[in-house]
Structures are given as structure tokens and as C-alpha cells.
Amino acid sequence: MRGRLLAVGRAVAFVALALVLCGAIFEAAGFSAPDMFASILDGAFLSDGALLHDMRWACPLFISATGVVIAFRCGYFNVGTQGQFYLGAIGGATAVALLPGLPAILVIIAALAMGMLFGALWAFWPGWLRIRSGTDEVITTLMGNFIAVLLLVWVTSGPLKDPSGSGQVTASPPVPPAFRISNDGGVSPIILGITVAVGIAAWVLVNRTAFGVLGGLAGRNPVMVTWQGARLSRLGLGAFMLSGGTAGLAGAMEVLGPDGRLVSGFSPAHGFTAVLVGLVANLSISGSVIVALFFGGLASASLYLPVIAGLPSAAIDMINAAIALFITSRAWPSRFRFRRVAR
């Protein structure tokens, strides 16, 4: 318990440090840091309906973050969440486009399954290259993100193009209302239900199954796990595909839910933020719930800032990045290190 409290305290302290750094940068750029933070707080948590908006962003973030937790616990830095999320969205939109006549419930299930499959496949090839030949997965998954962005542009301006659409942003035709799982607000019983189900399944997988326990050990000491007879390759590929699958599910849910269509370049910060959620939660599924709400708040503030407060939304990107910079720190600067009291 004490260890867990310490971990929470450390995470909070480093997030605070990141905020201080951002405040200094805001001041240097000529913005008033107190105003900026007040507007962010307002947009994220205090204004009318802010909590509902937070949930809208927190649900997909949490679902992707469970995948991040699973992969990172196994020791695989799958930072390709963004690409897997996009592929999942493409999969969901493809299913909707291919099955227009079926009953709604079948289409929805097929679209979500297709999203998971596409996301898992987009995580499969970096996983395969990593496990078969030791190709660094950080680079391959990052490059996968860039490729997925272009793939999404191609899909929305080619095969799934909205014939009536025009203008700069390409998009698919809208998903028929019968197949939507939420309105534009993005919070509905179905979305909450799926999120809770994914959370419970991921928690059980990580904490109560051989796969989760061995994966956690493999992240720390793969050699030992091999000696114990576990198949590292199977474990690793499973972790990659599960993490891709959850990101893909989140992507398909965006298409069927709040977005209601496939738009090129939607939610560009989703993947990086999901990785952050997992890391700030110290790779714990239960911790990710709270952390996802916090980052969901920041995500909704990034829409609120430019419209209501007239401040650039890049401020939120900076806060996220600064948190990433500090969050994995394992030591205090020596001058501030707490002296251990001798008993």
C-alpha cells in the first residue's frame, strides 16, 4: 500500500513539474500562465457539461491505454497506438460500407470486430519484425503511424470518399443513424458498457491470468521467463496484437459513435495521449481509469481553448509532451531527495 501511495505521489509530483515547465514556456511565449491554466481548468473540469465532454474523450483513451499497458508490461514499446487507432477506424468504416442491408446490431458488432482486427494487424507486423529479427519496435510502430495517416487520407479520398463531400478535409459518407452507437456527444450506454467491459477484461487479463503475470515478468526479465518454459514469441505477439486490437476498437467506436463518419486526420493526439495515460498510471489498469479522466479533460480543453478562451490549443500538446518528458523518472534530483530516516 505504501509503495502504491508513493507511486501515486511521484506521478502527481512529476505532472506538477511538467506543468511548471509549461507555465514558464507560456510566459516566455507571451501568454499569461495563470490565465492559461485557469482556462484549461475551466475547459477541462469546471465549465457546464465539462465532465460529460471529459467522458467523451476519456472512454476511447482508456480503451487504447489498456492496450498500451498490456504491451509495455511485456517490455514492448508499442508507440504505434495512433496508427492502430486509425486502422481500426478504417476497418469499422469499411464494415459499415460493405454491409448496408443487415440488421443494425450485426453491423455494429461486425464493424467493431473489423476495427479490432485491423488494429491488431497493424500491430502484428511490427510485433513480428520485433520478435523474429529483433527489429526495434519503437521505429517501426512510429513509421506505422505516419503510414497510417496517409492510408487514412487515401481511404477517405478514394474508396470510401463521400461523393457529396467537398472542401479541404476528406471524409467518408456519414454512418447511417441506425448504426451509430452514440450521438455527437459521444457518451452513451453502449460506449460506457464497452469501455467498462474492456476495462474489466484487461484487468483480469493482466492481474489474474498466466498471460498477464508472465507478460509482466517478461518485461522485467525475459531470460528468466524463457527458462521457465514460457514461449516468449507467442507472449510478445499476443501482447502486440491485443494492444493493437484495443486501439483499433477505440478507432471503430469513434467512427460509429461521436464522429459518425471517417474523417482524415481525426484525433491526431489520441495515440500519444493513450501511451501517456498508461505511463502516468504506472502501467496499471485500475489506475488508468482516473488518469484517462484527467487526460480526457485535457483533450476536451484543447477544443475549448481556441473557441472560448481564444488561446492556442497547442498549449495542451505541450502539457502532454512535458508530462511525457518527466513521467518515467525514477529518481529525485539528489538535492531534493528525501533522506531515509534510520529506524
Binding site: 514499446f77 512510429l142 526479465n221 500538446d317 505541450m318
Partner: protein, 295 residues
């Protein structure tokens, strides 16, 4: 043929400067994924300062200083706070991408592009087809050679490699790994800043938000592809630039039949192939990846 050489050189040079920063960090045992952030910071600072002061020299200096400051921050976080270099590097990249976006909006109001009144001086009309090459392109081979000498033929370079490969052994001969990493990262910061400046001030003299488009990450991949060797990384970057050139050419020749989005994917695909080939040839990341990359 000469057109091809000139085009590839211009495309590759920013990436090569940034890759040399990656080589320095790699030698010192740091996987520097902050290169993308350093590059965009350099690109932004160079154009903004040139636009504000009218002096290209000040623009270049600003690019170097900004990138060095960010590198020092990365060193503090990795070395003093013992953060994971990969995540901290990605954070630094995000800080660079977001910070330049914020800075452009703070100074110029609307989000978008900034144009500099002047660029890095070029060779000029006396050189025929090479006239468009600017001084940083011309200095690039010299810089790569100098870095090779520094890394492979000096006491400092050998100590740096020792710090990266076996910090304990390095410490036993009196080298301080933390300090060596600081020097490597600061020197690399200067080079990455120049690479960013070449990207924005070298060609169109424009900075636009997010203009690096993964070139920093490709430079990092060039370091891996080139086995951490300055010349190897240079050829890897040239290869990526060549792929990009052929993609553009294919589009000019085949027009609509070469889908634009897939052509744009080529450099990223080439990067994946490059990293995969080097892993096949030299053995990749060992099983205990976390241990190794925590460096």
C-alpha cells in the same frame, strides 16, 4: 544524373545533420528519439530569427542555441531524473512540435507558415547545376568526416564509445559517463539545430507547423541502419532521400496512375525496411530490450 545528385543531396542534408546528432548520442549510449523535436525547433528558430532580424547568421545561431537548450533539458531528465530515454525523447519531440506551433501563433497570430526574407547563401551561378546547393550542403561531407575523426581517431571518441558500451569500464579509467553524455548531447543539439535550419532556410525559406513530418525519426532510423557509424548513417539518409526522390519522379512521370498517398509513404516504408535489414544483418535488439535501452 546531376539533377538527381543535386536533388538527393538537398533532400538528404537536413536529415544527415540530424542523424549525426543521433550518432553522437548513440555512441554515448542514449537512444535519442528527441531528434524530431530538436529538428523542428531548429527549423522554427532559424526562420523566425531571420525574419525578425534580417540576418541569416543570427537565424542559424538561434537554431543552434534553441536546440542545444532542449538537448540539455533531455540530458537533465535522462541523467539526473533517470527517466526512460525513449519516452523522454518522445516527450521532447512533442515539446518541440507543440512549442514551435505555440511560438508561431504567439508571434504571428494566425497558425500557418512564416517566410524568411533570405536563406542560407548558395554557391551561386559560377557552379553550373550545383549553383542551388547552399553552404550547409557543401559543408556536410566535411562535417561527417570531422565527426568520423572525432569518434574513431581521438581519445574523446573512444572514451565516448566506452561510456556508451560499458559505462562501468569507462568509469574505471576515469571517464565520467554522465559528463560524456552531456557533451555528446550538446554537440548533437548543435548539429540537429543546423539540420533543422537547413530544412527551413535551405530550400523554400519557409517554416510551417509540423514541417519535419517524421524526418527526425527517419534520421534516427538512419543511425540504426548505419550501425551508429557517421558514414553509414550518412549513406542511410542518402538512401531515404533517394527513395523520396524516385517517388516524386514517379508521380511526375506516371501522374494519376501513381497514387499520391502511396508515393508519400515510400520513405517511411524504406525506413522500416532499413531498420529490418540492419536487424537481420547484425542481430537486433536483444531480448532484454528494456535493460539495454534504459542505458
Amino acid at each position: 544524373m546531376i539533377d538527381l545528385i543535386v536533388a538527393v543531396l538537398r533532400e538528404a542534408t537536413p536529415m544527415i545533420y540530424v542523424a549525426m546528432a543521433g550518432v553522437l548520442a548513440q555512441r554515448a549510449g542514449v537512444w535519442n528519439l528527441g531528434l524530431e523535436g530538436l529538428m523542428i525547433t531548429g527549423a522554427c528558430a532559424a526562420v523566425v530569427l531571420t525574419e525578425q532580424t534580417g540576418s541569416v547568421a543570427l537565424g542559424l545561431l538561434g537554431a543552434v542555441v534553441a536546440s542545444v537548450i532542449l538537448s540539455a533539458l533531455l540530458w537533465l531528465v535522462i541523467e539526473k531524473l533517470r527517466a526512460n530515454p525513449i519516452i523522454a525523447g518522445l516527450g521532447l519531440t512533442g515539446l518541440g512540435l507543440g512549442g514551435t506551433d505555440l511560438a508561431v501563433q504567439a508571434i504571428y497570430g494566425s497558425e500557418g507558415a512564416v517566410t524568411a526574407p533570405a536563406g542560407i547563401p548558395t554557391l551561386g551561378p559560377g557552379f553550373g547545376p550545383f549553383a542551388v546547393l547552399d553552404l550547409l550542403v557543401v559543408a556536410m561531407p566535411v562535417m561527417v568526416f570531422a565527426l568520423w575523426v572525432l569518434l574513431r581517431r581521438t581519445r574523446f571518441g573512444l572514451r565516448l564509445a566506452a561510456c556508451g558500451e560499458h559505462p562501468f569500464a569507462a568509469r574505471s579509467v576515469g571517464a565520467d559517463p554522465a559528463r560524456m553524455r552531456l557533451i555528446a548531447l550538446l554537440l548533437g543539439g548543435a548539429l540537429a539545430g543546423l539540420g533543422g535550419a537547413e530544412l527551413s532556410l535551405g530550400g523554400l525559406q519557409i517554416f510551417s507547423v509540423g514541417m519535419t513530418a517524421g524526418r527526425g525519426f527517419m534520421a534516427f532510423a538512419a543511425v540504426i541502419f548505419g550501425a551508429g557509424h557517421p558514414v553509414g548513417a550518412t549513406f542511410a539518409a542518402l538512401f531515404f532521400a533517394l527513395v523520396e526522390y524516385f517517388g516524386i519522379k514517379a508521380q511526375l512521370v506516371f501522374g494519376e496512375r501513381a497514387p499520391r498517398d502511396f508515393v508519400l509513404m515510400l520513405p517511411y516504408v524504406a525506413t522500416v525496411l532499413g531498420v529490418w535489414i540492419s536487424a537481420r544483418l547484425r542481430g537486433g535488439v536483444p531480448l532484454s530490450s528494456v535493460e539495454m535501452r534504459d542505458g
